[in-house]
Amino acid sequence: MLGEKEYMMWLSGLSKLSHHKKDDLLRRFGCAGDVFKASERTLGSLKELSDENVAYICGSRSSDGLEKYAERVYSLGADYIIKDDGYYPDILREAYEAPLGLYIRGDKTALSKKTVSMVGTRKATPYGMSVAEKLSGDFAAAGAAVVSGMADGIDTASHRGALKAGGKTIAVFGCGINICYPKTNERLMERIISSGCVLSEYPLDESPYPYNFPRRNRIIAGLSMALVVVEAEEKGGSLITANLAADFGREVFAVPGNITSRASRGTNELLKSGATPITEARDAFFAAEIDEYEKITSPKEKISLEKNEKLVYDCIQLREIALDEILSETGLDISDVKFALINLEMKGLAARLPASKYTAL
């Protein structure tokens, strides 16, 4: 049986029709089902549609085809939520060019949570990756759902952080939800679906065309109550998303970075033009309307450190520091330093970075 949901799948999947024309059609006919059933003459009489458009619409109308397609969507365990659906997030509905509907796989209730979007460059530095993971973990622990795009770099770290903290996370795709892009994130995608959800406005099998991503970004921006840019280069999708979020009236946060770092140029630029600096998850709680402050406990206070561990911890707190330097600064034996570092890592106070460097968390 075809219902409004399925008809909307059809309408939103008409890729040659602009979003405006689809909106106009919906306004005129009231629902997608009526567009589907309208006669060719009625459609032809509309001044906003060209003859080509009419032929395209009529050529794509096949009840059998649509039924089969919908069947495929449901057999994937996926669903489609339209604007009238209770699950369709209100904040997204308010956004400019809000999608007609969203394909969703996973837990729909994730959409009803408070949301924080986290975006950033694909070529992230270890600093960016660890910050993204930490912030996202804290947001998730405070009960918010972390929204991102499942790209390499910051996106991946953001999803990972939320999953590690046992929270909800939402990935918005620029391709069909049956396609994993990038391929290397296949396992991450499975984990996101099992404890959160993946979303896309694109029909199944849609390839990750480059021009899909700027449009995808408007959903990430639209879904966010607060948007955090962790690391961004001078040009790139993250800044587009930040601009969109600002246009939608959402608060944009940027993580301050080293002014000499390539990957922090964009975020530092954002800060100059008025974005709010963020150094801990709490900074964004007000904007994201998160009130579960108490859930985040400061773990550092409870942990007791041994003498060597304290020496080493003092060393790594200042900056990212190489093992060789820790040795010369503490004057300890290499075995002792390594022992202290492993212990600090296991206590969650230190992280090992590439290049035999360490940093405090």
Binding site: T260, A322, D324, R352, A355
Partner: protein, 507 residues
């Protein structure tokens, strides 16, 4: 009149006796060599004829000469049969006394002017001849030092066919050669770790690697001294025993890599083939397979710089020798097994551009980095116990006067650890921690309650893969041995955990 002159053929490192039987008789004039000679042996006809004439003999051109190389079933190759063939013909022609041919082996390549040139593979030939009960080996003068390494058989070095014939006829006695000046290649001549400033973690990792003969992978950007440190690794390994020296020398002898001046190879081999190396050059090959780089590194170090740049086939080839400590190569002309008991030292950049994590200038995408690292397959990585990252170069360190630990003192520690291991494994077939199998790990790397808990916590909080478990225990065992500690304690485990950087660095 038939004469049989004994010589030696080689199949890999195994020698076998070949009899050059010459029949010089009346009949239609001809000269034929039979017994599966390859073209290099067939060509010896021309050399033998000229050499004989240059040495003042009349070559029996007018007679029928048949020369058979027995056993006839095995293929004979190389110029080392020249001398036995020439002697067979001359003796068959009645120009030489024959009593000597009973218990003497001969080998040598002839030059047209009658001089005798060096041949490859002398050492295994002499070993074989000695085991077969020959009392004398007549061989090229240039090969004398190499041959004299083996006692219990008289080595008679000869410079020319004339000299050799005079010796046989008793006109020119040659005393058995004894090598008095044993060349002493000592570790002192090797580059020293004292020159390496900073890089304490890598140095420590190398010390542990050497102490347990663990394979090691170094990662770091260009110019951090990975190659420099790898080249210093031989200086902290204890010297080879005489048996090990002979094993290595045999391989080099077969490969034709022995220089006359340094007959016995007493220094541990250090081979660093270029990454464009072919399969055959790495594993061994050729029509009659010769030892490749894995065998030439036997009892020593095989250093592979730019590890991921090696062709995948070449790298996968290493898996079997790393496991079995020998390599078997099959070619048309036979199957050879060469020893390959190596310590693998590999070095690589962290990403294609070389600077990931070290400098902001790295522009490699995550995808590219993963692809680059995936060039090294899991099973191969599984055979490498220690992975360590070089630190980025700090220029203050370079100029500092403070010197690092010297190779001498590191070598002493290694030696002590080796002794402990030899004692522990005296009833086993192996003598290093790195050679422990799963059952051995259970037996020799037992952990106390405290250590078990520590290990468990570490695995959970550091996201290590279960595959790393045994390697960490083996490395921890070596760290404990370096410490002179009977039991593995938590700090040894921590040390071993920190030497798994590759597992732990998510891109």
């Amino acid at each position: 009149m038939i004469v049989s002159v004994k010589c030696c053929g080689l199949e890999g490192l195994r020698g076998y006796t070949v009899a050059a039987e010459a029949d010089v008789s009346k009949g239609f004039p001809s000269f034929e060599i039979v017994g599966l000679p390859d073209s290099s042996v067939k060509e010896s006809k021309a050399r033998v004829r000229s050499a004989a004439q240059s040495s003042g003999f009349n070559f029996p051109d007018a007679r029928r000469i048949v020369l058979n190389l027995a056993p006839t079933g095995l293929k004979k190759a190389g110029p080392s049969y020249d001398l036995p063939i020439a002697l067979g013909i001359l003796a068959g022609d009645g120009k030489l006394r024959r009593y000597i041919f009973e218990n003497t082996a001969f080998t040598g390549e002839l030059s047209l002017d009658g001089s005798i040139k060096r041949v490859d593979g002398i050492l295994p030939m002499v070993i074989h001849a000695k085991n077969e009960g020959f009392s004398r080996f007549v061989l090229p003068y240039e090969n004398r030092n190499e041959a004299a390494l083996i006692g219990g058989i008289d080595i008679i070095p000869v410079r020319s066919l004339k000299e050799c014939c005079d010796y046989i006829n008793g006109r020119y006695p040659i005393p058995p050669y004894v090598n008095t000046a044993q060349n002493a290649e000592s570790a002192d001549m090797l580059p020293d770790f004292i020159d390496v400033k900073g890089q304490e973690e890598v140095k420590r990792a190398m010390l542990i690697a050497a102490a347990g003969m663990h394979n090691i992978l170094l990662s770091g950007p260009p110019g951090t001294g990975k190659t420099m440190m790898a080249k210093r690794l031989p200086s902290i390994l204890p010297p080879m025993t005489f048996e090990e020296c002979i094993e290595v020398t045999e391989i080099y002898s077969v490969a034709g890599l022995i220089k006359d001046s340094s007959a016995l190879i007493s220094r541990r081999p250090f081979r660093n083939p270029h990454h464009t190396i072919s399969n055959a050059a790495m594993a061994g090959g050729g029509r009659i397979p010769r030892p490749g780089e894995v065998s030439l590194s036997h009892n020593g170090i095989l250093f592979l710089d730019e590890f991921p740049e090696f062709s995948r086939d070449v790298l996968e080839e290493l898996r079997q020798p790393l496991e079995d400590r020998e390599i078997t190569i099959s070619r048309v002309n036979g199957t050879m097994t060469y020893p390959a008991n190596i310590m693998l030292v590999a070095s690589m950049n962290p990403c294609p551009c070389g600077y990931f994590g070290y400098s902001d200038k790295c522009s490699c995408s995550q995808n590219k980095i993963i692809k680059y690292r995936n060039k090294i397959s899991g099973p191969l990585l599984d055979r490498i116990d220690i992975q360590v990252e070089a630190a980025g170069i700090d220029y203050n360190k370079l100029s500092a006067d403070a010197k690092g630990e010297s190779s001498q003192s590191m070598r002493e520690k290694v030696l002590k650890a080796h002794e402990i291991q030899a004692q522990r494994y005296k009833n086993s077939a192996f003598s290093y921690n790195s050679r422990l199998d799963a059952a051995g790990v259970e037996k020799f790397c037992r952990l106390g309650q405290n250590e078990k808990r520590f290990m468990e916590r570490a695995f959970n909080s550091l996201s290590l893969s279960a595959r790393a478990y045994h390697k960490i225990l083996k490395t921890a065992r070596t760290a404990a041995d370096l410490d002179g500690s009977e039991n593995i304690n938590v700090s040894h485990i921590a040390e071993a955990l920190s030497l798994r950087s590759f597992d732990r660095n998510k891109v």
